[in-house]
Point group: C2
Chain length 256, copies 2
Amino acid sequence: MRKVVAIANQKGGVGKTTTSVNMAACLAGEDCRVLLIDLDPQGNATSGLGIDRLECEASIYDGLVDDRPLEELIIATNTENLDLVPSTTDLAGAQIELVEHPRREFRLRETISRFESDHDFIIFDCPPSLGLLTLNALAAANTVLVPIQTEYYALEGLGHLLQTIELIHEHLNPALSLEGILLTMYDGRTNLSEQVASEVSSHFGELVFETIIPRNVRLGEAPSFGMPITEYAGSSRGARSYRDFAREFLARNGRT
Amino acid sequence: MRKVVAIANQKGGVGKTTTSVNMAACLAGEDCRVLLIDLDPQGNATSGLGIDRLECEASIYDGLVDDRPLEELIIATNTENLDLVPSTTDLAGAQIELVEHPRREFRLRETISRFESDHDFIIFDCPPSLGLLTLNALAAANTVLVPIQTEYYALEGLGHLLQTIELIHEHLNPALSLEGILLTMYDGRTNLSEQVASEVSSHFGELVFETIIPRNVRLGEAPSFGMPITEYAGSSRGARSYRDFAREFLARNGRT
Ligand SMILES: Nc1ncnc2c1ncn2[C@@H]1O[C@H](COP(=O)(O)OP(=O)(O)OP(=O)(O)O)[C@@H](O)[C@H]1O
Ligand SMILES: Nc1ncnc2c1ncn2[C@@H]1O[C@H](COP(=O)(O)OP(=O)(O)OP(=O)(O)O)[C@@H](O)[C@H]1O
Ligand SMILES: [Mg+2]
Ligand SMILES: [Mg+2]
């Protein structure tokens, strides 16, 4: 049974792309077939997997605006079992171009529902806003994974995001539920990280993944080589934590 | 002569709000009269200055959508010489509500042009996108300050942002120029920071401020107390670097 997970948080720089790329790579390493769809006009997930956006002949823009089937947009990556639908700069215009469309929030859902494949997981990397691209992702997803860095401003936005997810559940996608909250960029040397982490855990209990992603410079270096952490620095703390996270995610989904 | 500076970068989490709040506070400390306008629906600059969004009777939303004069929206902060126009959650709706308006990109510019005051500087904190709120800021500003964290993904988006600023200069605001590029969250212990910093400096030369903001946990702690760094930890590396930056900014603008 294919599962569709949106990785979303309107707060910027919390680790959405880093989580999308490395979760996808770690699931692929566990013999799952994974498709990553880059919904961010910045295209960080695309370059994080070593794909040159300028050489892409098509992107998710063509699926959302021109109704091209997803099969035509998929490209292979250097990681076995991991496919990608890239983002290109024309995606920045999709927001304005889709506003007039009657079913503007459901374009991605319609694209996905027509798509037959043997992927076990489809993952959406979302931009840092609650605009039309993220709404499309939330309307098309089964669950939402919320990365949150252990910083004060990130904590502040969490309540607003969970309210939005609830609204989407009521009006656009009754099947949508919360996959969970993943704490990222945790720096055990600072009180700030500990305080935010314990605040999130006390408020959201079971919803918070036990695995916490530490701040690890290898995770910041890997994208400059166009590789997921498992290929760039497979024995680093960053790689180990994302592998632990992928296994916890699979266990929670009854797929070990 | 009043100067209007937009602090913008579509990449998330690069230090836009941290720079807006602390630059505004440091300029106020140098006896400049400063007005900070929070254009981000997340409202981080508002809470970073200790203002409770739920208690605000009006926000920049009322200026953009309902044409209320700016004088009615300004509130005092706990920092002398620093005023704020807060953001509230209704700002998230402004993007969709303004789309139909014929002069949708110029709403903020019209609000500012009708506003008489003795402020030396007006600073805009922008959200992490190039949507209508940021376009309004770029259409209304004299210059744009671009904070960029010394990380790979932040470097990637810089070219696209500078192209957008050039387009705004040509089509919406011929008076717009680049104030400069500010390197933030610099961690001298990592090669990554050094590599990105030297890459930005070699590409953009004089446009890059000499002052570099280091990664300093005090900057992350200050917003949880609703204070700028100068009041929360006045002798920290974070406070010293933003004071140095404010002085360099004033010197570059011939106001020492
Ligand atoms: N655990 C980590 N340790 C160290 N650096 C990290 C970690 N996670 C992410 N980073 C770095 O922090 C920055 C922000 O992360 P990332 O770009 O993944 O966040 P994002 O939420 O996708 O940002 P945006 O809101 O712009 O989409 C990046 O430069 C990334 O390389
Ligand atoms: N120099 C610094 N040292 C340590 N932490 C910092 C520094 N600058 C910013 N931070 C922290 O990093 C996080 C991101 O910074 P900030 O929120 O200012 O970025 P932003 O660009 O405004 O994000 P957004 O794109 O969501 O608006 C915040 O939690 C902030 O407290
Ligand atoms: Mg991202
Ligand atoms: Mg901000």
